[in-house]
Structures are given as structure tokens and as C-alpha cells.
């Protein structure tokens, strides 16, 4: 009985309960959308609390210190305290800024981050929107974040912010290409843009394991390029503290600043989740060929935990980057993309195509 329980059956039961009370129709759809949105917001905000706590602990671990350990058990409530502080702070709007754009920018950042979560499959048959263009949707919507950054940098009317925003614009637009090409390699192999089908294609092995070296290359490129895409160190030139004080969000304070932070963590989760979905099989458990007993044990672990475990692993890697690497210079950053990553991904795409045509993968 317990084994039958899954997030998708829970969702179906809930849907049937609502349908029996309200009846199928437009009203039900709107109600379900609102509920789903609320659940998503609560989930992502809690997740950001966790990621903030995790980042501090990971940083502390690497920097021979303890990290937060006073507020709540093992310091877990520290991030809640910080959030309360940010909420109580005055959200300043500089006098000479473009006030409308200045206040709009953090919202655009958060909204785009939330939108990208929609096609992610958290568990078997449990996702908000299983659109047939899942990967395309993700890469197109996530690139809207650059508008928020440029808007923030421009409307602040601060020279440092402007420099940060301009750097970020060049950076995100460039690295988008590599991300797209490395995702395309999996799209070629699985033959679909739909998230659920990409996961289904990995039923007998994750793409990273059965895809040979072209997929390993696209995985590495995806991790590098997505770290740059979400403006995290060593590619955090947009906010380069030591060079531009805080880059595009220099003038932001209070909750407006917290929104940038929130969107940064959601983006971190989203890119890791996509990497986990397309390369590591999403919620698919780890299976070894014909080793039935082992496979059955793995099946007992719910898909949600598989998905979150893989995502957290990639998040940890990206955090590891941040706390060990120095920052690149702006011209080196663009060199890396245009001279190395992009040509490699192009050649790699051809290799993947050949591999897919002749069925050379497992």
C-alpha cells in the first residue's frame, strides 16, 4: 500500500476531490492554477532558505570556520532571521533613478525565475506543465532574466551599476549559446523537447552514463555555461564586489535586494534541476543492467528524492566553484565562451548527431 503512494496519485486524488465539489470546468482550472502557484511559491521560498543555509555551511566548511550556529538548531533559523531583517529594512529608491523601472527590475528577475520552474518534473507524472517544447521554453524564458539585470543597472543611474549590467548583458547573451547547444545534444539523443519524454528515454540508463564522451563534454559545458548564466562565481562579473562594489544591485536595499537574492537561488536550483533532468535522468532511479535485486531496492526510493538528490549534488558542485575559484576578467570570460566553449559545443553537436544516427550509444 505504501509503495503505491506517489506524488502523482496525491495530485490526482486532490484533483478528483476538487472536481467532485466544484465540477470540471473553467473555475476548477483557475482554482488549481492559483493553488499550484501558491504551492510553488512556498516551496521555492523554503527551498531558497535551505539553499542559503546550505551555501553558508558549505562556505564555512571550506573556509575553516563553523558558519551559522546560533539561531535555531544548528543555526538553521539564521536565514529566517535574515529574511525578517530584510523585510523590516527600508527599500530605498534613489532620487535620481527611474523609479518605475527601478522597482520593476527585481520583480522581473523573480518572475522569470518562477516561470522557468513550470516544466520541471519533480517526480513521475508530477509536474506543472508538461509542454511539448519544455527545453525550448526553459532556455527562452530564462534568458529574459538579462532584461531585469539591464533594467536594474540602467535605472539605478549609478556608474558602477551600469558597468555591472553591461558586463552581465554580454555574458548572459554569450553563454546562452553554449547552454542551448549542450541541451540540443540531449534533445538529439532522446528525440524530444518534452521533459517527461527526455526522462522516459533514460529509463535504462542516464544519458551521462550511456552517452559516451560527447555527452560528458556537453555536461561539463552545461555546468560551466550555466554557472555563468546565473551570474555565480567565478563568473560573477556583474556583481564583482571587489571591482564594482555590488554591480547592478548596488543601489538596492531591503526586500528589493532580497528579491535579487531569491532569484539567484531559484536560478541556481533551476539550472541544477535541468542538468539533473537531462543528463542524470531526473526522477529516474539508478539501475544497473540486469541486476534485478539492486534495481528493485533503488525503485523503493521515491522519485522525488532521486530528483532532489541529483539536483543538490549539482548545486553543491556549483557552490564548490564559488568558494574555491578566483573571478575571471571580462575579456577572459568572453574568450572562454567564443574561443573555446562554443566551437567545442558545435563539434560536439555533430558528434552527438553521428552517434544518434548510427545508434552508437548504449
Amino acid at each position: 500500500m505504501f509503495l503505491q503512494f506517489s506524488l502523482s496519485s496525491l495530485a490526482r486524488t486532490f484533483h478528483e476531490y476538487l472536481a467532485s465539489n466544484i465540477g470540471e470546468g473553467f473555475l476548477l482550472q483557475v482554482l488549481e492554477m492559483v493553488i499550484m502557484g501558491l504551492v510553488l511559491i512556498v516551496f521555492l521560498v523554503l527551498l531558497c532558505f535551505f539553499l542559503g543555509y546550505m551555501e553558508r555551511k558549505v562556505a564555512a566548511f571550506m573556509q575553516v570556520r563553523l558558519g551559522p550556529n546560533r539561531v535555531g538548531p544548528k543555526g538553521s533559523m539564521q536565514i529566517v532571521a535574515d529574511t525578517i531583517k530584510l523585510l523590516l529594512k527600508e527599500g530605498l529608491t534613489p532620487n535620481s533613478s527611474d523609479k518605475f523601472l527601478f522597482n520593476l527590475a527585481p520583480m522581473i528577475m523573480v518572475i522569470t525565475s518562477f516561470l522557468v520552474v513550470a516544466p520541471l518534473a519533480f517526480s513521475s507524472n508530477f509536474q506543472i506543465w508538461d509542454t511539448s517544447i519544455g527545453i525550448l521554453y526553459v532556455s527562452s524564458v530564462s534568458s529574459m532574466a538579462v532584461i531585469g539585470i539591464l533594467m536594474a543597472g540602467w535605472s539605478s543611474n549609478n556608474k558602477y551599476s551600469l558597468l555591472g549590467a553591461m558586463r552581465s548583458g554580454a555574458q548572459i547573451v554569450s553563454y546562452e549559446l553554449s547552454i542551448g547547444l549542450s541541451l540540443i545534444s540531449i534533445v538529439i539523443l532522446s528525440g524530444s523537447l518534452q521533459m517527461s519524454e527526455i526522462i522516459q528515454s533514460q529509463q535504462n540508463g542516464w544519458w551521462l552514463l550511456k552517452g559516451h564522451f560527447p555527452v560528458w563534454i556537453s555536461f561539463v559545458i552545461f555546468i560551466i555555461a550555466s554557472t555563468a548564466e546565473i551570474n555565480r562565481a567565478p563568473f560573477d562579473l556583474a556583481e564583482a564586489e571587489q571591482e564594482l562594489t555590488a554591480g547592478f544591485h548596488t543601489e538596492y536595499s531591503g526586500m528589493k535586494f532580497a528579491m535579487f537574492l531569491l532569484s539567484e537561488y531559484i536560478n541556481l536550483f533551476v539550472v541544477s534541476a535541468i542538468a539533473a533532468t537531462v543528463f542524470l535522468g531526473g526522477w529516474m532511479p539508478f539501475h544497473i543492467g540486469n541486476f534485478a535485486a539492486f534495481n528493485q531496492v533503488m525503485d523503493y526510493i521515491p522519485g522525488f528524492f532521486w530528483f532532489m538528490g541529483k539536483t543538490m549534488f549539482i548545486i553543491f558542485i556549483i557552490m564548490w566553484f564559488r568558494w574555491t575559484f578566483p573571478r575571471l576578467r571580462v575579456d577572459q570570460l568572453l574568450n572562454l565562451e567564443w574561443k573555446y566553449l562554443l566551437p567545442i559545443s558545435m563539434v560536439n553537436t555533430i558528434l552527438v548527431t553521428i552517434m544518434a544516427i548510427y545508434g552508437l550509444h548504449f
Binding site: A59, M62, Q63, V64, R65, S96, S97, D98, W154, S155, N157, K159, Y160, L162, L163, R167, A233, P234, D236, L237, A240, E241, Q242, E243, L244, T245, W323, T324, F325, P326, R327, L328, R329, V330, D331, Q332
Partner: protein, 373 residues
């Protein structure tokens, strides 16, 4: 044009930003005015004076015992060495002979200070280049050194330990044991430093070929210390004009030929090992005896001029005293290493990017209170 319809570039099409006086990477209140073309630096103009405390003028009303301690606030990371320079200069005028034990203690303290200063520099260089972790690792070892210094002279940062004729008080009984322990730790961890930062490809790309200065330029700008030695200019005062017993210890003057940020980095990393070696030579053979020469209560230097230079962690510090025979100096002038080194910055930074400027500042190891005094 910005939102208010004002031009954000000046009449020559240059984008002017002010870096500092409050800025995370200027390590204090240095104010740099930067003219930019995009990200490329056209010229840099340092503006000084934000932390001028007129230490030189103040010294004219302080006694020869007291004026020394104002120098702890100049280059606060090499406080011992600054104090030593003044003490040596006063001793030169008094013509007192410093006891052997005091000389060795002074040397030990000076080298410990150099070691801790270079460690802080290593951490902050990492921080300036965007790697936060080195900072904490550097502070771990620096803490051990500061503990040793604190036990002996009671202060961690602005130590006032050197007095004319010797040192203020004797070493702590634990001094030798603790110093050996921390040296062992430092030697182990320096290889870890290299693993974490020096070997990193991003770090090497950020520093190699950045901020080049030729030996000729280094000399003409009056650069001294590790910055000049990175360009191949031999200028170690400890070697050329030994003082306080440096003639009796074995150490190498580290010379690099690169002249860029990476060479300056390497010079300091190797100097740390040299400091360790100097301390190891002395730590087991601290002679017994007096720690202070007998001096009068009120010190009076004979009429004349006295000059003493020492090698601080940043370069050559010169102390120039003019005495009219009274109990306080008639005029004091310091030749501080950072002031001369800073003058080369605009030359180094020309044509570089903003990120390079930060790397140049970091590897020059600027201490702003030393520039302004």
C-alpha cells in the same frame, strides 16, 4: 546620456568613475579617479589625504621615547619594523650599543611581523581576485603568529615593543615553543596556499602579464621591496645595508624577472619561506643577557641629522631625524615604501581592465595609512 539627460561621459568621450574612498578593494581610504573607455583604463589618478594624521608634525612635540610609537599606526601591518627603524635611528644618535639578546629578539619580531603581513596580503589578494576562501586560510596561520606576538608584547596589531636601546620587556617563556609550532604549521600550509591559489589557471591568467613594470621604470618611480624585486631590481635593505644583526643570518634575496602581478605574488610567497628560515636560524640560539642598554631617562640627541632605513614587508622605510639638541626631534621625515610604490600605479594600469587594476592594487600590497601618514 543618463536618465536625467546628463552626459555620463566627459567631453572626450571618457567614462570617469571614482574608486573609493569607500570601496571594497582599496583596503582603506584610497581614492582613485579612473578614466575609462568601456572597460579599458585610460589613466588612473590617486587622490591622497583621507587618512592624513600628521604623524611627522606630531613627532616634533613628542619625546624620543614616545614618537616611535606613532609609527605603529603608519604601516600597521609591519608595526614592529617601523618601530625598529625609529629605535635604530635614535640609537644612532645616542651612540648606544644594543645588547645581543635585544638584537636577536628584534630580528625575530621583525621577521614574524613580515610573515604575518605577507599572510594577510596573500588572503586579501585572493579576496580581491574574487576567491574568498584564501582569506580565511591566511587568517588561520596569521592568528598563530599574532598570538605569539601578543604574549610577548601585549598587542596584536599596533605593537609598541621596540624602545631606544633594546626592547621593552623580555620574551614570554613559551615564546620558543609556540614559535616553532607556528613555523611548522606555516611551512605545511604554504604548500596548501600554492595548491589553492597559485596553481589555479584562472588566478594565473588574471595575474600573468598584468601590471607589467620594467626594472628601469621601477627604479625611476622609486619602487622598493617585493614590488621592485619582482622586476629584478635588487634592493633588499637587509642585504645591502644590514642592520640589527641581519649580517649574521643566512637568507636569499628573492628576485623575479617577470615584473607583472604574478612575479610580485611569487616574490612574496618565497619571502615567506625566507622569513621562516631566518626565524629558524635564530630561535634556538637567543643569547642570554640584558634586553635593554642603559639609557638616560630623558633622551637627547646631539645636534645633527640622522637617517636609518630598514626593509619593511612592503619595501624601504627611511627615518630621517633632524635634532637641535632638545628632548624632542626638530623635524622627522619618513620615506614610506607605499607612497613611492603607489606612484607607479597609473603607469602599470594604463590600458588594463578594471579587474586588472584590482589585481595590481592587491599585488602591490598597499597600506593606505602608510601613504598618507
Amino acid at each position: 546620456m543618463n536618465l536625467l539627460g546628463e552626459d555620463i561621459v566627459n567631453e572626450n568621450g571618457e567614462f570617469v568613475i571614482n574608486m573609493g574612498p569607500q570601496h571594497p578593494s582599496t583596503h582603506g581610504v584610497l581614492h582613485l579617479k579612473i578614466w575609462l573607455q568601456g572597460e579599458t583604463i585610460l589613466r588612473v589618478q590617486p587622490h591622497l589625504g583621507y587618512i592624513h594624521r600628521s604623524i611627522e608634525k606630531m613627532s616634533e612635540s613628542l619625546s624620543y621615547r614616545n614618537f616611535i610609537f606613532a609609527t605603529s599606526r603608519m604601516d600597521y601591518l609591519s608595526a614592529h619594523i617601523n618601530n625598529l627603524a625609529c629605535a635604530l635611528c635614535v640609537e644612532q644618535g645616542l651612540e648606544v650599543e644594543v645588547p645581543e639578546r635585544a638584537k636577536v629578539i628584534r630580528l625575530l619580531m621583525a621577521e614574524l611581523t613580515r610573515l604575518s603581513s605577507h599572510q594577510l596580503w596573500w588572503g586579501s589578494t585572493g579576496l580581491d581576485l574574487g576567491a574568498v576562501t584564501p582569506f580565511f586560510h591566511a587568517f588561520r596561520e596569521r592568528e598563530g603568529i599574532l598570538e605569539v606576538i601578543e604574549e610577548t608584547c601585549g598587542a596584536r596589531l599596533t605593537q609598541n615593543y621596540m624602545v631606544p636601546g633594546g626592547v621593552m620587556m623580555d620574551l614570554h617563556p613559551d615564546f620558543q615553543r609556540k614559535t616553532k609550532a607556528i613555523l611548522k604549521q606555516v611551512k605545511e600550509k604554504i604548500s596548501e596556499y600554492h595548491e589553492l591559489l597559485s596553481g589555479n589557471i584562472i588566478f594565473q591568467q588574471r595575474t600573468q602579464g598584468v601590471g607589467y613594470i620594467s626594472p628601469e621604470d621601477a627604479v625611476s618611480f622609486g619602487m622598493t621591496g617585493p614590488c621592485a624585486r619582482a622586476s629584478g631590481v635588487s634592493c633588499d635593505v637587509r642585504k645591502w645595508y644590514p642592520y640589527s644583526g641581519y649580517e649574521g643570518v643566512q637568507f636569499d634575496e628573492i628576485l623575479e624577472t617577470g615584473g607583472d602581478c604574478y612575479a610580485r605574488y611569487q616574490v612574496r610567497m618565497k619571502e615567506m619561506m625566507q622569513s621562516v628560515s631566518i626565524i629558524e636560524q635564530l630561535i634556538d640560539s637567543i643569547p642570554e643577557g640584558e634586553i635593554q642598554a642603559k639609557t638616560k631617562n630623558v633622551l637627547k640627541l646631539p645636534k645633527g641629522e640622522f637617517y636609518q632605513k630598514v626593509e619593511t614587508a612592503r619595501g624601504e622605510l627611511g627615518v630621517y631625524i633632524v635634532s637641535d639638541g632638545a628632548a624632542s626631534p626638530y623635524r622627522v621625515k619618513y620615506r614610506s615604501p607605499n607612497f613611492s610604490n603607489l606612484s607607479a600605479m597609473s603607469h602599470m594600469a594604463k590600458g588594463a581592465k578594471i579587474g586588472d587594476l584590482v589585481a595590481i592594487m592587491a599585488t602591490m600590497d598597499l597600506i593606505i595609512p602608510d601613504i598618507d601618514r
